[in-house]
Symmetry: C2
Subunit: 201 residues, 2 copies
DNA sequence: CGGATTGGTTAACGGCGGTTCACACCCGGG
DNA sequence: CCCGGGTGTGAACCGCCGTTAACCAATCCG
Protein backbone atom coordinates (compact mmCIF):
# COMPACT_ATOMS: atom_id res chain seq x y z
CA UNK A 1 0.00 0.00 0.00
CA UNK A 2 3.00 2.26 0.03
CA UNK A 3 2.22 3.66 -3.38
CA UNK A 4 5.41 3.34 -5.30
CA UNK A 5 5.27 6.34 -7.55
CA UNK A 6 4.28 8.91 -4.91
CA UNK A 7 5.68 12.15 -6.24
CA UNK A 8 2.87 13.17 -8.43
CA UNK A 9 -0.22 13.53 -6.40
CA UNK A 10 -0.37 17.31 -6.49
CA UNK A 11 -3.83 18.29 -5.37
CA UNK A 12 -4.61 19.87 -8.68
CA UNK A 13 -3.52 17.47 -11.31
CA UNK A 14 -6.13 15.56 -13.19
CA UNK A 15 -4.18 14.34 -16.13
CA UNK A 16 -1.66 11.62 -16.86
CA UNK A 17 -3.45 8.38 -16.18
CA UNK A 18 -6.96 9.06 -15.02
CA UNK A 19 -6.65 9.41 -11.30
CA UNK A 20 -7.82 6.30 -9.55
CA UNK A 21 -10.95 6.51 -7.49
CA UNK A 22 -8.74 6.38 -4.45
CA UNK A 23 -6.87 9.49 -5.52
CA UNK A 24 -10.08 11.27 -6.43
CA UNK A 25 -11.34 10.61 -2.94
CA UNK A 26 -8.19 11.90 -1.29
CA UNK A 27 -8.28 15.06 -3.32
CA UNK A 28 -11.96 15.74 -2.76
CA UNK A 29 -11.56 15.02 0.93
CA UNK A 30 -8.66 17.45 1.18
CA UNK A 31 -10.81 20.15 -0.36
CA UNK A 32 -13.73 19.50 1.96
CA UNK A 33 -11.56 19.12 5.05
CA UNK A 34 -9.92 22.44 4.26
CA UNK A 35 -13.24 24.19 3.89
CA UNK A 36 -15.02 22.86 6.95
CA UNK A 37 -12.57 20.90 9.06
CA UNK A 38 -12.28 17.14 8.98
CA UNK A 39 -14.61 16.55 11.90
CA UNK A 40 -17.35 18.59 10.27
CA UNK A 41 -17.20 16.62 7.05
CA UNK A 42 -19.15 13.41 6.86
CA UNK A 43 -18.17 10.32 4.96
CA UNK A 44 -21.28 10.88 2.88
CA UNK A 45 -20.05 14.34 1.91
CA UNK A 46 -16.75 12.97 0.68
CA UNK A 47 -18.54 10.27 -1.24
CA UNK A 48 -20.95 12.73 -2.81
CA UNK A 49 -18.03 14.90 -3.91
CA UNK A 50 -16.80 12.07 -6.13
CA UNK A 51 -20.25 10.88 -7.17
CA UNK A 52 -20.56 7.93 -4.86
CA UNK A 53 -22.38 7.10 -1.64
CA UNK A 54 -20.72 7.25 1.77
CA UNK A 55 -19.96 3.61 2.54
CA UNK A 56 -18.24 3.18 -0.83
CA UNK A 57 -15.29 4.97 0.76
CA UNK A 58 -14.58 1.85 2.76
CA UNK A 59 -13.66 -0.03 -0.39
CA UNK A 60 -10.61 2.24 -0.59
CA UNK A 61 -9.78 3.27 2.96
CA UNK A 62 -9.96 1.44 6.24
CA UNK A 63 -11.53 4.40 7.97
CA UNK A 64 -12.02 8.13 7.79
CA UNK A 65 -9.05 8.57 10.07
CA UNK A 66 -6.86 6.50 7.78
CA UNK A 67 -7.79 8.86 4.97
CA UNK A 68 -6.69 11.87 6.95
CA UNK A 69 -3.54 10.12 8.09
CA UNK A 70 -2.49 9.28 4.56
CA UNK A 71 -3.23 12.82 3.47
CA UNK A 72 -1.09 14.40 6.16
CA UNK A 73 1.73 11.92 5.78
CA UNK A 74 1.96 12.61 2.07
CA UNK A 75 2.08 16.34 2.60
CA UNK A 76 4.87 16.08 5.13
CA UNK A 77 6.81 13.71 2.93
CA UNK A 78 6.49 15.91 -0.11
CA UNK A 79 7.62 18.96 1.81
CA UNK A 80 10.62 17.26 3.34
CA UNK A 81 11.63 15.63 0.10
CA UNK A 82 11.15 18.74 -2.01
CA UNK A 83 12.85 21.01 0.48
CA UNK A 84 15.89 18.79 0.85
CA UNK A 85 16.16 18.46 -2.89
CA UNK A 86 15.99 22.19 -3.53
CA UNK A 87 18.65 22.89 -0.95
CA UNK A 88 20.91 20.23 -2.36
CA UNK A 89 20.49 21.66 -5.85
CA UNK A 90 21.27 25.20 -4.73
CA UNK A 91 24.97 24.78 -4.18
CA UNK A 92 26.79 25.94 -1.10
CA UNK A 93 25.65 29.52 -0.83
CA UNK A 94 23.21 29.84 2.06
CA UNK A 95 21.56 32.86 0.44
CA UNK A 96 20.86 30.81 -2.68
CA UNK A 97 19.61 27.95 -0.55
CA UNK A 98 17.23 30.28 1.22
CA UNK A 99 15.92 31.63 -2.06
CA UNK A 100 15.32 28.07 -3.23
CA UNK A 101 13.49 27.10 -0.05
CA UNK A 102 11.34 30.20 -0.12
CA UNK A 103 10.42 29.65 -3.74
CA UNK A 104 9.60 26.03 -3.03
CA UNK A 105 7.38 26.78 -0.05
CA UNK A 106 5.61 29.59 -1.89
CA UNK A 107 4.90 27.35 -4.86
CA UNK A 108 3.64 24.59 -2.64
CA UNK A 109 1.37 26.91 -0.68
CA UNK A 110 -0.07 28.51 -3.79
CA UNK A 111 -0.55 25.15 -5.51
CA UNK A 112 -2.08 23.38 -2.53
CA UNK A 113 -3.89 25.80 -0.27
CA UNK A 114 -6.25 23.05 0.86
CA UNK A 115 -3.43 20.80 1.98
CA UNK A 116 -1.76 23.66 3.80
CA UNK A 117 -4.93 24.38 5.69
CA UNK A 118 -5.63 20.78 6.62
CA UNK A 119 -2.08 20.15 7.68
CA UNK A 120 -2.11 22.46 10.62
CA UNK A 121 -5.77 22.39 11.48
CA UNK A 122 -6.40 18.68 11.65
CA UNK A 123 -3.17 17.27 12.93
CA UNK A 124 -4.89 16.86 16.27
CA UNK A 125 -7.50 14.49 14.84
CA UNK A 126 -4.92 11.81 14.16
CA UNK A 127 -4.11 8.85 16.36
CA UNK A 128 -1.11 9.55 18.52
CA UNK A 129 1.03 7.22 16.44
CA UNK A 130 0.16 8.89 13.16
CA UNK A 131 0.48 12.35 14.64
CA UNK A 132 3.92 11.48 15.96
CA UNK A 133 5.10 10.36 12.55
CA UNK A 134 3.79 13.50 10.89
CA UNK A 135 5.47 15.63 13.51
CA UNK A 136 8.71 13.76 12.95
CA UNK A 137 8.62 14.56 9.25
CA UNK A 138 7.64 18.15 9.90
CA UNK A 139 10.46 18.53 12.34
CA UNK A 140 12.97 17.26 9.82
CA UNK A 141 11.66 19.75 7.28
CA UNK A 142 12.02 22.54 9.82
CA UNK A 143 15.57 21.42 10.46
CA UNK A 144 16.36 21.84 6.79
CA UNK A 145 15.34 25.46 7.13
CA UNK A 146 17.13 25.86 10.44
CA UNK A 147 20.35 24.64 8.86
CA UNK A 148 20.16 27.35 6.23
CA UNK A 149 19.02 30.08 8.61
CA UNK A 150 21.81 29.25 11.04
CA UNK A 151 24.42 29.98 8.40
CA UNK A 152 22.73 33.28 7.57
CA UNK A 153 22.56 34.28 11.23
CA UNK A 154 25.83 33.08 12.71
CA UNK A 155 25.08 34.62 16.08
CA UNK A 156 21.67 33.09 16.57
CA UNK A 157 21.00 29.92 18.54
CA UNK A 158 18.94 27.02 17.24
CA UNK A 159 15.79 27.96 19.14
CA UNK A 160 15.76 31.38 17.55
CA UNK A 161 16.28 29.92 14.10
CA UNK A 162 13.47 27.49 14.70
CA UNK A 163 11.10 30.25 15.75
CA UNK A 164 12.20 32.19 12.70
CA UNK A 165 11.43 29.26 10.43
CA UNK A 166 7.96 28.85 11.93
CA UNK A 167 7.28 32.54 11.47
CA UNK A 168 8.25 32.31 7.82
CA UNK A 169 5.94 29.32 7.36
CA UNK A 170 3.16 31.35 8.92
CA UNK A 171 3.83 34.17 6.54
CA UNK A 172 3.89 32.06 3.41
CA UNK A 173 1.04 29.80 4.48
CA UNK A 174 -1.20 32.80 4.97
CA UNK A 175 -2.24 32.28 1.37
CA UNK A 176 -5.47 30.44 2.10
CA UNK A 177 -6.59 33.36 4.27
CA UNK A 178 -6.08 36.08 1.72
CA UNK A 179 -8.36 34.32 -0.69
CA UNK A 180 -8.49 35.39 -4.30
CA UNK A 181 -7.95 38.98 -5.27
CA UNK A 182 -4.34 38.82 -6.35
CA UNK A 183 -3.22 36.88 -9.40
CA UNK A 184 -0.78 34.11 -8.83
CA UNK A 185 2.52 35.54 -10.07
CA UNK A 186 1.96 38.77 -8.16
CA UNK A 187 1.12 36.82 -5.04
CA UNK A 188 4.16 34.62 -5.48
CA UNK A 189 6.48 37.57 -5.79
CA UNK A 190 4.97 39.41 -2.87
CA UNK A 191 5.22 36.41 -0.56
CA UNK A 192 8.73 35.57 -1.68
CA UNK A 193 9.93 39.12 -1.13
CA UNK A 194 8.33 39.37 2.28
CA UNK A 195 9.65 35.99 3.34
CA UNK A 196 13.10 36.90 2.12
CA UNK A 197 13.05 40.14 4.08
CA UNK A 198 11.76 38.44 7.21
CA UNK A 199 14.34 35.69 6.95
CA UNK A 200 17.27 38.04 6.66
CA UNK A 201 16.10 40.79 9.00
CA UNK B 1 -10.26 26.62 44.48
CA UNK B 2 -11.06 30.05 43.13
CA UNK B 3 -7.67 31.43 44.11
CA UNK B 4 -7.97 33.33 40.90
CA UNK B 5 -4.76 34.84 39.65
CA UNK B 6 -2.59 31.79 39.16
CA UNK B 7 -1.62 31.09 35.54
CA UNK B 8 -4.47 32.88 33.90
CA UNK B 9 -4.57 34.29 30.41
CA UNK B 10 -4.85 38.03 30.25
CA UNK B 11 -7.70 37.12 28.10
CA UNK B 12 -11.36 37.18 27.96
CA UNK B 13 -12.78 39.64 30.40
CA UNK B 14 -14.35 42.66 28.84
CA UNK B 15 -15.39 43.55 32.35
CA UNK B 16 -12.47 42.83 34.65
CA UNK B 17 -14.42 41.82 37.69
CA UNK B 18 -13.42 38.82 39.75
CA UNK B 19 -13.55 35.87 37.43
CA UNK B 20 -17.14 34.77 37.49
CA UNK B 21 -17.96 31.17 36.73
CA UNK B 22 -19.01 32.34 33.30
CA UNK B 23 -15.59 33.82 32.63
CA UNK B 24 -13.86 30.76 34.01
CA UNK B 25 -15.80 28.65 31.56
CA UNK B 26 -14.94 30.85 28.60
CA UNK B 27 -11.28 30.78 29.48
CA UNK B 28 -11.14 27.03 30.04
CA UNK B 29 -13.07 26.45 26.85
CA UNK B 30 -10.67 28.63 24.89
CA UNK B 31 -7.77 26.57 26.16
CA UNK B 32 -9.42 23.26 25.31
CA UNK B 33 -10.69 24.44 21.94
CA UNK B 34 -7.20 25.58 21.05
CA UNK B 35 -5.68 22.25 22.00
CA UNK B 36 -8.15 19.93 20.32
CA UNK B 37 -10.55 21.96 18.20
CA UNK B 38 -14.01 22.94 19.32
CA UNK B 39 -15.76 20.00 17.72
CA UNK B 40 -13.50 17.54 19.48
CA UNK B 41 -14.16 19.04 22.88
CA UNK B 42 -17.25 17.88 24.73
CA UNK B 43 -19.40 19.95 27.00
CA UNK B 44 -18.38 17.57 29.75
CA UNK B 45 -14.72 18.34 29.13
CA UNK B 46 -15.30 22.05 29.50
CA UNK B 47 -17.29 21.48 32.65
CA UNK B 48 -14.63 19.23 34.12
CA UNK B 49 -11.99 21.86 33.44
CA UNK B 50 -13.74 24.22 35.83
CA UNK B 51 -14.75 21.54 38.33
CA UNK B 52 -18.34 21.11 37.29
CA UNK B 53 -20.42 18.61 35.34
CA UNK B 54 -21.32 19.11 31.71
CA UNK B 55 -24.92 20.28 31.82
CA UNK B 56 -24.03 22.97 34.36
CA UNK B 57 -22.67 24.92 31.41
CA UNK B 58 -26.24 25.58 30.33
CA UNK B 59 -26.81 27.75 33.38
CA UNK B 60 -24.38 30.20 31.80
CA UNK B 61 -24.62 29.72 28.06
CA UNK B 62 -27.50 28.95 25.75
CA UNK B 63 -25.45 26.39 23.87
CA UNK B 64 -21.97 25.28 23.06
CA UNK B 65 -22.13 27.28 19.86
CA UNK B 66 -23.10 30.39 21.77
CA UNK B 67 -19.97 29.93 23.85
CA UNK B 68 -17.78 29.78 20.80
CA UNK B 69 -19.57 32.72 19.23
CA UNK B 70 -19.03 34.92 22.23
CA UNK B 71 -15.40 33.90 22.38
CA UNK B 72 -14.72 34.77 18.76
CA UNK B 73 -16.70 37.98 18.86
CA UNK B 74 -14.74 39.21 21.84
CA UNK B 75 -11.44 38.46 20.20
CA UNK B 76 -12.37 40.33 17.06
CA UNK B 77 -13.66 43.26 19.03
CA UNK B 78 -10.56 43.48 21.15
CA UNK B 79 -8.30 43.38 18.13
CA UNK B 80 -10.23 46.02 16.24
CA UNK B 81 -10.53 48.27 19.24
CA UNK B 82 -6.93 47.88 20.36
CA UNK B 83 -5.57 48.28 16.86
CA UNK B 84 -7.56 51.41 16.13
CA UNK B 85 -6.53 52.88 19.46
CA UNK B 86 -2.84 52.21 18.93
CA UNK B 87 -2.90 53.78 15.51
CA UNK B 88 -4.73 56.82 16.78
CA UNK B 89 -2.20 57.23 19.57
CA UNK B 90 0.77 56.94 17.23
CA UNK B 91 0.42 60.33 15.57
CA UNK B 92 0.55 60.86 11.85
CA UNK B 93 3.72 59.05 10.92
CA UNK B 94 2.82 55.80 9.13
CA UNK B 95 6.10 54.22 10.22
CA UNK B 96 5.25 54.92 13.84
CA UNK B 97 1.74 53.62 13.28
CA UNK B 98 3.12 50.41 11.83
CA UNK B 99 5.44 49.95 14.78
CA UNK B 100 2.49 50.41 17.11
CA UNK B 101 0.34 47.90 15.23
CA UNK B 102 3.12 45.34 15.12
CA UNK B 103 3.80 45.70 18.82
CA UNK B 104 0.13 45.37 19.57
CA UNK B 105 -0.39 42.26 17.48
CA UNK B 106 2.76 40.64 18.88
CA UNK B 107 1.68 41.31 22.44
CA UNK B 108 -1.77 39.97 21.75
CA UNK B 109 -0.46 36.81 20.11
CA UNK B 110 2.04 36.12 22.88
CA UNK B 111 -0.51 36.81 25.61
CA UNK B 112 -3.32 34.81 24.05
CA UNK B 113 -2.01 31.96 21.95
CA UNK B 114 -5.15 29.94 22.61
CA UNK B 115 -7.43 32.64 21.29
CA UNK B 116 -5.29 33.12 18.23
CA UNK B 117 -5.52 29.45 17.46
CA UNK B 118 -9.26 29.19 17.97
CA UNK B 119 -9.97 32.31 15.99
CA UNK B 120 -8.84 30.94 12.70
CA UNK B 121 -9.48 27.27 13.24
CA UNK B 122 -13.04 27.33 14.45
CA UNK B 123 -14.57 30.23 12.61
CA UNK B 124 -16.26 27.69 10.39
CA UNK B 125 -18.14 26.12 13.29
CA UNK B 126 -20.23 29.24 13.80
CA UNK B 127 -23.68 29.86 12.48
CA UNK B 128 -23.59 31.87 9.29
CA UNK B 129 -24.89 34.94 11.11
CA UNK B 130 -22.23 34.82 13.80
CA UNK B 131 -19.49 34.03 11.34
CA UNK B 132 -20.54 36.99 9.23
CA UNK B 133 -20.29 39.34 12.15
CA UNK B 134 -16.88 38.04 13.12
CA UNK B 135 -15.70 38.41 9.58
CA UNK B 136 -17.01 41.95 9.51
CA UNK B 137 -14.97 42.86 12.56
CA UNK B 138 -11.91 41.08 11.20
CA UNK B 139 -12.24 42.93 7.92
CA UNK B 140 -12.33 46.24 9.71
CA UNK B 141 -9.21 45.32 11.63
CA UNK B 142 -7.48 44.35 8.42
CA UNK B 143 -8.49 47.68 6.95
CA UNK B 144 -6.76 49.46 9.79
CA UNK B 145 -3.58 47.73 8.73
CA UNK B 146 -4.24 48.32 5.07
CA UNK B 147 -4.59 52.04 5.70
CA UNK B 148 -1.16 52.17 7.25
CA UNK B 149 0.47 49.87 4.73
CA UNK B 150 -0.97 51.86 1.85
CA UNK B 151 0.82 54.97 3.04
CA UNK B 152 4.08 53.06 3.36
CA UNK B 153 3.73 51.59 -0.14
CA UNK B 154 2.30 54.41 -2.22
CA UNK B 155 2.50 52.40 -5.42
CA UNK B 156 0.66 49.33 -4.17
CA UNK B 157 -3.04 48.67 -4.70
CA UNK B 158 -5.43 47.71 -1.95
CA UNK B 159 -5.44 44.01 -2.81
CA UNK B 160 -1.68 43.84 -2.43
CA UNK B 161 -1.81 45.65 0.88
CA UNK B 162 -4.48 43.28 2.07
CA UNK B 163 -2.42 40.25 1.15
CA UNK B 164 0.53 41.86 2.86
CA UNK B 165 -1.47 42.37 6.02
CA UNK B 166 -2.61 38.75 6.04
CA UNK B 167 0.94 37.58 5.55
CA UNK B 168 2.07 39.63 8.53
CA UNK B 169 -0.70 38.17 10.64
CA UNK B 170 0.44 34.73 9.63
CA UNK B 171 3.97 35.56 10.63
CA UNK B 172 3.09 36.96 14.03
CA UNK B 173 0.41 34.40 14.78
CA UNK B 174 2.89 31.59 14.21
CA UNK B 175 3.58 31.82 17.93
CA UNK B 176 1.37 28.91 18.95
CA UNK B 177 3.26 26.66 16.54
CA UNK B 178 6.75 27.43 17.79
CA UNK B 179 5.78 26.39 21.27
CA UNK B 180 8.04 27.17 24.15
CA UNK B 181 11.79 27.29 23.79
CA UNK B 182 12.27 31.03 23.49
CA UNK B 183 11.60 33.38 26.39
CA UNK B 184 8.98 35.98 25.87
CA UNK B 185 10.99 39.17 25.38
CA UNK B 186 13.29 37.46 22.89
CA UNK B 187 10.31 36.09 21.00
CA UNK B 188 8.60 39.46 21.02
CA UNK B 189 11.65 41.18 19.59
CA UNK B 190 12.22 38.53 16.96
CA UNK B 191 8.64 38.61 15.74
CA UNK B 192 8.48 42.39 15.77
CA UNK B 193 11.69 42.69 13.78
CA UNK B 194 10.63 40.11 11.23
CA UNK B 195 7.18 41.63 10.85
CA UNK B 196 8.69 45.06 10.46
CA UNK B 197 11.02 43.82 7.76
CA UNK B 198 8.25 41.97 5.95
CA UNK B 199 5.95 44.96 6.11
CA UNK B 200 8.47 47.35 4.62
CA UNK B 201 10.12 45.04 2.11
C1' DC C 1 -38.36 32.59 58.76
C1' DG C 2 -39.60 31.15 54.14
C1' DG C 3 -40.16 31.51 49.31
C1' DA C 4 -37.78 32.78 45.12
C1' DT C 5 -33.43 32.74 42.69
C1' DT C 6 -29.19 30.72 41.45
C1' DG C 7 -26.27 27.12 40.17
C1' DG C 8 -25.55 22.46 40.75
C1' DT C 9 -26.57 17.16 40.04
C1' DT C 10 -27.97 12.68 37.67
C1' DA C 11 -30.70 10.48 34.29
C1' DA C 12 -32.68 10.21 29.91
C1' DC C 13 -33.60 11.47 25.09
C1' DG C 14 -32.61 12.00 20.24
C1' DG C 15 -30.04 12.85 16.30
C1' DC C 16 -25.99 12.53 13.78
C1' DG C 17 -22.44 10.01 11.69
C1' DG C 18 -18.96 6.29 11.28
C1' DT C 19 -19.04 1.68 10.35
C1' DT C 20 -20.81 -2.93 9.04
C1' DC C 21 -23.79 -6.05 6.41
C1' DA C 22 -26.07 -8.37 2.78
C1' DC C 23 -26.80 -7.98 -1.59
C1' DA C 24 -26.21 -6.44 -6.75
C1' DC C 25 -23.42 -5.39 -10.69
C1' DC C 26 -19.74 -5.42 -14.07
C1' DC C 27 -16.09 -7.62 -16.16
C1' DG C 28 -12.07 -10.55 -17.38
C1' DG C 29 -10.25 -15.29 -17.80
C1' DG C 30 -10.52 -20.32 -17.69
C1' DC D 1 -20.73 -19.82 -19.80
C1' DC D 2 -19.80 -19.18 -15.38
C1' DC D 3 -16.97 -17.93 -11.46
C1' DG D 4 -14.64 -14.56 -8.66
C1' DG D 5 -12.87 -10.26 -7.31
C1' DG D 6 -13.41 -5.46 -7.20
C1' DT D 7 -16.71 -1.78 -6.57
C1' DG D 8 -21.12 0.38 -5.27
C1' DT D 9 -25.78 0.53 -2.86
C1' DG D 10 -29.41 0.99 0.77
C1' DA D 11 -30.51 -0.40 5.28
C1' DA D 12 -29.37 -1.13 9.83
C1' DC D 13 -26.48 -0.68 14.03
C1' DC D 14 -24.49 1.77 17.64
C1' DG D 15 -21.94 4.94 20.36
C1' DC D 16 -21.18 9.60 21.27
C1' DC D 17 -22.64 14.07 22.59
C1' DG D 18 -25.49 18.21 22.87
C1' DT D 19 -29.38 19.21 25.07
C1' DT D 20 -33.46 18.87 28.25
C1' DA D 21 -35.85 17.33 32.42
C1' DA D 22 -36.59 16.73 37.14
C1' DC D 23 -34.89 17.37 41.33
C1' DC D 24 -31.95 19.47 45.12
C1' DA D 25 -28.82 22.64 48.09
C1' DA D 26 -27.56 27.03 49.26
C1' DT D 27 -28.15 31.85 49.49
C1' DC D 28 -30.45 36.21 49.38
C1' DC D 29 -34.02 39.26 51.01
C1' DG D 30 -38.51 41.03 52.45
Amino acid sequence: MTSARAGQDAALHADAERPSRREQILQAAAQLFAERGSRAVGVDDVGAAVGVTGPAIYRHFASKDAMLAEMLLRISERLLEGGSERVADAGDDPAAQLRALVAFQVDFALDNPALITVQDRDLGSLTEADAAQVRRLQRRYVEVWVGVLARLHPGADAATCRARAHAIFGLINSTPHSAGRLNRPAMARLLADMAQAAATA
